[in-house]
Amino acid sequence: MKIFQVERTLVSTNRIAEMEHKPLLVVREREGGTPMVAIDPVGCKPGDWVVCVGSSAARDATGVKGFPSDLTIVGIIDHWEG
């Protein structure tokens, strides 16, 4: 797993049906790092430091078995300075 900081919500109206209506967040490993997109089953707000899981675990972490995701937020870190 890796630590990311939540930047903002990502809006994508034209997307595949399999993604249903799961919220998407733009996350970065550090300031100026490469932005990536994660599914958010936890309910985070911008600025939160979170832990994300990848590969096949990311699919079940969304709450829907076999959901098409390769990066999913699994929790918000209580104390973390980047």
Partner: protein, 91 residues
């Protein structure tokens, strides 16, 4: 999921049966890496899209038997790249 910009469609008439008939797109990542993805949402050239990799890509393509490890999951409504010069041409 990673973010890419659609560079061009990819025509590949001689392909394996398992590739199905879904359109393929050449994508350029934020760091400039060039990849090929299956595109079920028919993104246009220059669109910024996010993709799904690994085993989830096959589910995202609609059929687990499809031979893909990268699938376009959706077109981002409004994406402003931080410092890249290849800004989105239609914004």
């Amino acid at each position: 999921m990673n973010i890419h910009q659609v560079k061009q469609p990819l025509v590949m008439t001689r392909r394996l049966e398992g590739m199905g008939s879904m359109p393929l797109k050449v994508l350029v990542g934020i760091k400039g890496e060039v990849t090929v993805a299956m595109d079920p949402v028919n993104a246009r050239l220059g669109d910024w899209v996010f993709t799904i990799a690994n085993s989830a890509a096959r589910t995202a393509a609609g059929d687990a038997k499809l031979l893909t490890d990268l699938t376009v999951a959706g077109v981002i409504d409004d994406w402003r790249p931080d410092n890249t010069e290849t800004a989105n041409p239609n914004t």
